[in-house]
């Protein structure tokens, strides 16, 4: 067969393209053909396929635009929901691929300005960066070193990685002072636990004292009461008294008899409060843990939790998330829960449940919670010392 022969694939594609054109001609609203209208249609897409057909058609139309539309599309990430952002991303990549294939010029300077403007959406900035990388190999060396404290975790990660590489090399060469300086600088931007561990280990070996719980923003001081009954994992949905009211002086009836709130703290570098080790390796148990978080003004932040146990989290009495999963691993930032806090003191209540599995790998009963902004940078309580004012240390 000669090269000009239409393959089955080509023919199917032609049919598909023809039908799409006909479909678009019949279904796109007249005022939606402008980029702004198409972007607006895409941003209307939402959960459970709401607006999917319209967004799909708008993507097809907008993807045919010239590269000049890239900046408005990237800017539209700013208040787009995660689904809409993916539709917009697809438009950007399609336009860029075609422009590069056809040797068309991309708006390099505006793209670079977009990347360096930290107010822009982090995902859109990263996408713009990757586009620029395809046509300008110098962009990494020019931009990444200045991104150590960038709001985008991906940019920070790249900047940290470069410093880490350099510090490791110097450390191996015996230039410990310089290496230590670079490690400490790298730590400023590091929020991923692999990088923090890679930085902390040599620094601690050099004798540096690091406050990793503060670096991450772990909540380390808690009042804890329990155990309550979770036989047959039924306690997850039982409303025990702490869910109605947190009264730190109350004497409650637990699974094993009277139970009262006791104060615990963790000194673990990664904020792990280990109930099994610090309290008791309860099985079929529910424990309640409470603390307060103070902020001077109302603000949004994320509670990031890691645990191998089932859990529910309330903030100021409102259930913000619950997950009934046991022994499927534990990881820093395993769950991210966005929360809006009020000015002043905010009460945090965590219900943490252990089931009755008897395998070796099903014995962990622990959690770690940190508070951070959407970028993963720690946010601290305004008055950490006031977090636990009401009780004395528990009696042995």
């Amino acid at each position: 067969m000669g090269n000009s022969t239409m393959t089955r694939y080509d023919f199917t594609r032609l049919l598909g393209a023809l039908s799409t054109v006909v479909f678009l001609m019949n279904t796109l609203p007249a005022d939606a053909a402008e980029p702004a209208g198409l972007i607006s249609t895409i941003k209307s897409v939402d959960k459970k396929a709401k607006g999917n057909p319209e967004a799909g058609r708008a993507v097809a139309e907008l993807s045919r635009a010239e590269p000049a539309v890239l900046l408005p599309v990237l800017a539209a990430f700013q208040d787009a929901n995660p689904l809409a952002a993916n539709y917009l991303r697809s438009v950007v990549e399609t336009i860029v691929d075609r422009a590069i294939d056809n040797k068309k010029t991309l708006p390099r300077k505006p793209l670079e300005s977009f990347i360096t403007d930290r107010k822009n959406n982090p995902q859109a900035r990263r996408l713009a960066f990757e586009i620029l990388q395809r046509v300008d190999v110098t962009v990494v060396d020019r931009l990444i070193p200045g991104m150590l404290t960038d709001p985008s975790p991906l940019f920070r990660r790249d900047a940290v990685a470069r410093l880490l590489d350099l510090a490791e090399r110097l450390n191996k060469e015996g230039q410990q002072d310089l290496a230590g300086t670079l490690y400490k600088r790298a730590l400023q931007g590091a929020t991923d636990d692999d990088q923090v561990r890679a930085i902390a280990k040599p620094l601690q070996k050099m004798g540096e004292k690091l406050d990793l719980p503060r670096h991450f923003g772990f909540l380390t001081q808690w009042h804890i009461v329990g155990p309550f009954d979770n036989t047959g994992s039924k306690g997850f949905n039982v409303v025990y008294p702490p869910e109605k009211q947190v009264d730190l002086k109350a004497k409650l009836q637990g699974k094993l008899g009277p139970a009262g709130w006791k104060q615990y703290r963790t000194t673990d570098d990664f904020g792990i409060l280990d109930i099994a080790k610090q309290i008791s390796p309860y099985k079929g148990a529910v424990m309640y843990c409470t603390t307060v978080f103070t902020t001077k003004a109302p603000r949004s932040l994320q509670f990031r939790l890691g645990t191998p146990n089932a859990w529910k989290l309330w903030v100021n009495g409102r259930l913000v998330f619950a997950n009934e999963e046991y022994h499927r691993g534990m990881k820093l930032d395993q769950y991210s829960v966005p929360v809006t806090l009020r000015a002043g003191s905010n009460s945090i209540l965590l219900k943490i449940c252990q089931n009755e599995q008897d395998q070796d790998w099903a014995q962990r009963y622990q959690f770690q919670i940190r508070t951070c902004n959407v970028s993963g940078i720690a946010v601290h309580s305004a008055d950490s010392s006031a977090a636990l004012p009401q009780l004395e240390e528990p009696q042995p």
Partner: protein, 405 residues
């Protein structure tokens, strides 16, 4: 248009449509009919660094998903980033391996996985016109064959508890004009059938809250409206009408949560109590006949396979072969290593890829299974490969290979 010309175009269109439906594609996990069998294909049985490797393409990110083949293109998913939250769908030219396009997306669901797994663990599926790329984070992306996004669903975005901290693995299946995914975890479980054209929900069914990594498969009926999707999990196997989600029948014995069932000759081979073979009545789709069951035919992670009248299961490194009709154990064979990949079959051979990249090619045409070749790829292989174009397509985290004479 003259009448002969019209007739010619009509015939051409019909032939294109027919071949589009029946060509030697490999459109989903374990092939078009989830059988792992590639009829008529003759891939090589030996390969090495310089032998029978048509091309080897470096990949970005990680993935346990298998490649799929549609027409003259290979489609593959990967995930990348410290959090495995960057999702990729890629298309390669089947003949040359040249990348035709790559699209990236940002996961909208939780991406945590066991270290062995990746967000890109489910194998994508296709209806021949669209690609349905599914990820552990329950992001379901629909693209046309040229990489244009048609629709996007974030199923954990919709149902925030639908996730498994070890990772999800169930691959989608396309039956008629419905794409079906099975999302089962301790915290929230469901199966859903979506319109292939728009991603809108045709049906949504709550499932039992047990984590599950097996994949749905099709039990195709001549009447498309009665084609069934089979959902296997800890409480058994449930057959639903693919287009409506209406339950047709239920097999009520616990089934494995990792290997997936297989349909052959109207019977369903379920990894349950070893292996249980059920035959649904063709008249009312509700009565089940247990053809045979045998606890000697248990499966580890690789799914069972039925080929040329024989059934093959694998537990650890042991392959067992039985008579597919009676369950009589015919032979067993010990391979070496650990196996995550499901075997695939072509030209009288079964291909077993071990986790270390060693492939055992087993001739199953004789009275006993015989290893006729052992080939090394020198990479971790966890995916289930595809067979098309007389070739084997397989991926590691780092590379995609076309193994071809």
């Amino acid at each position: 248009m003259t009448r002969p010309a019209f007739r010619f175009i009509t015939v051409l269109l019909a032939s294109v449509l027919v071949t589009g439906l029946t060509g030697a594609d490999w459109r989903q996990f374990r092939g078009n009919d989830s059988s792992s069998v590639a009829p008529g294909e003759k891939p090589p049985v030996t390969w090495g660094d310089t032998e029978n490797i048509a091309w080897k393409i470096p990949l970005r990110g990680r993935g346990l998903s298998g490649p799929i083949i549609v027409g003259d293109r290979v489609y593959l998913t990967s995930s990348d980033g410290f959090k495995q939250d960057r999702l990729f769908v890629e298309c390669f030219d089947m003949k040359t391996g040249v990348r035709r396009w790559r699209r990236s997306f940002q996961a909208t669901g939780r991406t945590q996985c066991h270290a062995k797994m990746a967000n890109a663990t489910p194998t994508p599926a296709s209806d021949g016109k669209r690609i349905f790329a599914f990820f552990s984070s329950n992001d379901l992306v629909c693209l046309d064959l040229d990489g244009n996004l048609l629709w996007y669903r974030g199923l954990t975005h919709d149902f925030p508890n639908a996730s498994n901290s070890l990772g999800m693995a169930s691959s989608p299946v396309v039956i008629g004009d419905t794409v079906i995914v099975q999302v089962e975890s301790q915290a929230e479980s469901f199966a859903t059938g979506l319109d292939v054209g728009t991603g809108t929900t045709r049906w949504h069914r709550k499932q039992h809250r047990y984590d599950n990594w097996s994949s749905p498969i099709a039990l195709v009926n001549k009447d498309p409206a009665r084609s069934l999707v089979l959902l296997q999990n800890m409480i058994g196997l449930t057959a639903l009408e693919a287009r409506t989600g209406k339950e047709a029948w239920h097999y009520d014995q616990p089934a494995s949560r990792t290997p997936s069932s297989v349909v052959a000759n109207g019977a369903v081979y379920i990894p349950s109590n070893g292996l249980t073979v059920v035959r649904p009545a063709t008249t009312n789709n509700k009565t089940l006949e247990i053809a045979w069951k045998d606890n000697r035919f248990s499966s580890g992670t690789p799914s069972p396979l039925v080929y040329r009248g024989k059934v093959f299961t694998m537990s650890g490194p042991i392959v067992k072969c039985g008579d597919a009709s009676t369950g009589k154990l015919l032979w067993q064979l010990r391979l070496k290593g650990a196996f995550t990949s499901s075997p695939v079959a072509a030209d009288g051979h079964l291909y077993y890829f071990s986790e270390t990249g060693r492939t055992y090619v087993v001739d199953v045409t004789g009275p006993k299974g015989k290893i006729i070749a052992e080939n090394e790829l020198g990479a971790t292989i966890l995916c289930t490969p595809a067979i098309a174009d007389n070739s084997v397509f397989v991926r590691s985290d780092g590379h995609l290979w076309k193994i071809s004479r």
